[in-house]
Symmetry: C2
Subunit: 422 residues, 2 copies
């Protein structure tokens, strides 16, 4: 058996003190004010982290990674026009190779902005899986169901894939992802939930993203979206729902009772004028809310630093500046996402997955340091990121991510091809 890799992060700022952090086999093994060098395995790599802080890496809890290829393709218009006249037209032209390179671009961008995990709902999942494996990050990859776009055969193939491929790679989990209440009918919803429970997988979907969705559901079923899912018996603690900007108090109580996790996507909700998540009510009900960027076509980046600042700002626009403070916003962007998707990660803590960001405390936006979390949430941008570590492995070398130039070159090429494709 080959010797397992060890990494010592030496002399790093954590929770107001300077510590050493020992990582072994991708796990935080020991965190202590002093780890003697002579106690280490001889092949331990030592990283000098003076003037750096160690913070949990970001967990992006809702995205469509390959939509980076449609970044900036259509902005500043209604969701309906955006989807029907622009996004779906382009998506219908996307091929497997596009999805692969667009996923690599997404991951490149995520690493540079401190994200090591994303939950992905898209097509050609095998291409995104390949991109995740090659790039060193981790992901929960959706097996996506949408009856408006798939025939029966494709749906059965999805279920077969789930059973056969339960374990794809140590850095990848699968999840069952019925797209939404408008793209998946009640029978398939029930079957998705049953299979997710049988296989011990998370079930992830969109919910209540627009007023129209709520109105249509009410007309069709007499129930609001969360009430409707409750009536199907599909809600439980393995369910993660994104957006949730139009909930009434009864729906909030259902989500609480069923221990459902939510994912807040403030930038996408604002950009598409979809509506606004009621953070104060959800905090009061103690519902777990993670943070996601949504796809790059409606954001238009995958930057969780920006997302958590905007989440904190948006929560305060109802008149209460105390809602969602800096520490809470950061926890949404890291720990809450890891918990929702059932990864043992999200904190700098012994026995957890060694996912971390080393932040440059000499970056001009990290100074002066009255409160580290405040500077991180409200002031920093990605220039303050010195290193990003996933499962104990540093992902940045000489300011670049693996294959960076190759990825950018291929994005130019597939973008050029896409423009000329009819």
């Amino acid at each position: 058996m080959p010797s397992m890799s060890s990494l010592l992060i030496h002399s790093v700022y954590k929770d107001s003190e300077i510590v050493d952090v020992l990582i072994q086999n991708g796990i935080f093994k020991k965190i202590s004010t002093h780890i003697p060098l002579n106690s280490l395995d001889t092949d331990t790599k030592i990283v000098d982290a003076s003037q750096k802080a160690i913070l949990p890496a970001f967990y992006n809890a809702h995205t469509h990674a390959a939509m980076t290829l449609l970044r900036g393709y259509a902005d500043d218009m209604s969701l309906f026009k955006w989807l029907h006249e622009y996004i779906w037209v382009q998506e219908s032209k996307l091929q497997k190779e596009d999805i692969y390179w667009a996923s690599r671009l997404a991951i490149l961008e995520m690493i540079h902005s401190g994200t090591v995990f994303f939950a992905d709902m898209y097509w050609h999942r095998e291409e995104t899986i390949r991109a995740v494996i090659e790039s060193g990050v981790k992901a929960t990859i959706g097996v996506t169901f949408a009856e408006n776009l798939m025939d029966k055969n494709a749906i059965e193939k999805n279920f077969d894939f789930l059973k056969e491929m339960k374990s794809v790679h140590p850095r990848i989990k699968l999840a069952v992802m019925p797209h939404s209440i408008y793209a998946v009918e009640s029978d398939l919803w029930k079957r998705c939930a049953r299979e997710a429970r049988n296989l011990g997988l998370v079930l992830h979907s969109h919910i209540s993203e627009t007023k129209e969705e709520v109105e249509t559901c009410l007309k069709k079923t007499g129930l609001r979206p969360v009430e409707y899912l409750e009536s199907l018996g599909v809600l439980d603690e393995n369910v993660v729902l994104a957006h949730a900007v139009h909930l009434n108090e009864k729906e909030i109580q259902i989500l609480k009772k069923r221990k459902v996790s939510l994912v807040h996507c403030p930038v996408s909700n604002m950009k598409l004028s979809s509506g606004k998540l009621n953070m104060k009510a959800l905090q009061k009900a103690q519902i777990s809310v993670a943070l996601g960027t949504d796809g790059a076509a409606s954001n238009n980046n995958l930057d969780m630093l920006e997302e958590m600042k905007i989440a904190a700002l948006l929560a305060k626009t109802e008149g209460d500046p105390e809602v969602l403070n800096a520490k809470e916003a950061f926890s949404m962007a890291s720990l809450a996402g890891a918990k929702a998707y059932q990864w043992n990660a999200g904190e700098i803590k012994e026995t957890q997955d060694a996912d971390a960001i080393l932040v440059d405390l000499n970056n001009e936006r990290m100074l002066p340091m009255h409160h580290l979390h405040s500077n991180w949430v409200y002031s920093a941008d990605s220039r303050a990121i010195h290193q990003v570590i996933c499962n104990g492995k540093p992902l940045i070398e000489n300011k670049k991510v693996k294959d960076e130039d190759l990825i950018l070159e291929n994005i130019r090429r597939v973008h050029h091809d896409l423009k000329n494709r009819h």
Copy 2:
């Protein structure tokens, strides 16, 4: 007379084509698809800008630069508590040297995020002036009036300074800055406006930042804030007012009639739960709106890239995603600020001041390039900035700004001193 400096930006992307840009004496002299090298003065410096785009630099139209020293000192609380229990207590301890280094930190941060100009309202203006001169940017520096904090003697000294110092430096303009309607009484407001007109200077103030301000004004004068200033006869096209989040239609019509410019500070307004500027109504009235970060204590950075994205997002939260598109948001952040403060700048255009950003088109967030402005407003962060040019002079060398390490070292020192000062 020494020979004047010339700079040729060679082969740069501008408005969908590749051009050469010749800068002489701080001005865009010639912009053309091909400027022959043998037509240049022999001492012309040539910058290869292939794979770069040239865009107007940012004009930050409202800030309090030296408040960088209070970055993150107090967050997530009401404006009243924030001001009375935290900010004013700390500000009363600030000394001249603090203001100097805090201004240098602010400018360092602004350069790294593409800003070459700021309009500043604060104390110890001579320290901020010194910081601007030494750092190579430009500024409109306020001579600040606040009767609650100044005696008669100090007010007279301000007016003397304005008359004596009309021309401080080619990169600095002065402006008359009565703090607000609650800190300056009607007689002083009228005198400020008279002096500004006599000296040909801009008058800048805060207006209608909070509901309380509007209510207090109504109680005291029977008029809303803008109506009150109109009744004093102080409004004209040289007036620039920041915040303006609580305006009614009558006030909007007054601002339009008097050709007043406004400054939108979305991050600060959101963070302090102050209220929301009505972008749609102001656009409809064709009122010029520039963009400002406000001080770092309520933002907590001075990043105009972030500010313009958030402005565009916030404008869409009333249900109309077409309000404030990417190009409009960028124009607010550049041209509108330059115009409000009467600088011949804000566009990449012959005869204008040569202020520009060179954007790295190989940055992962600038790809693919469906629309340059969309990527710049909605996707980029400061990592995409390759160079920042003010009055023809590049301000970044080997990824660093002049005196960068010295500034950061001194910020650590003055921050440490401030903590131990009673």
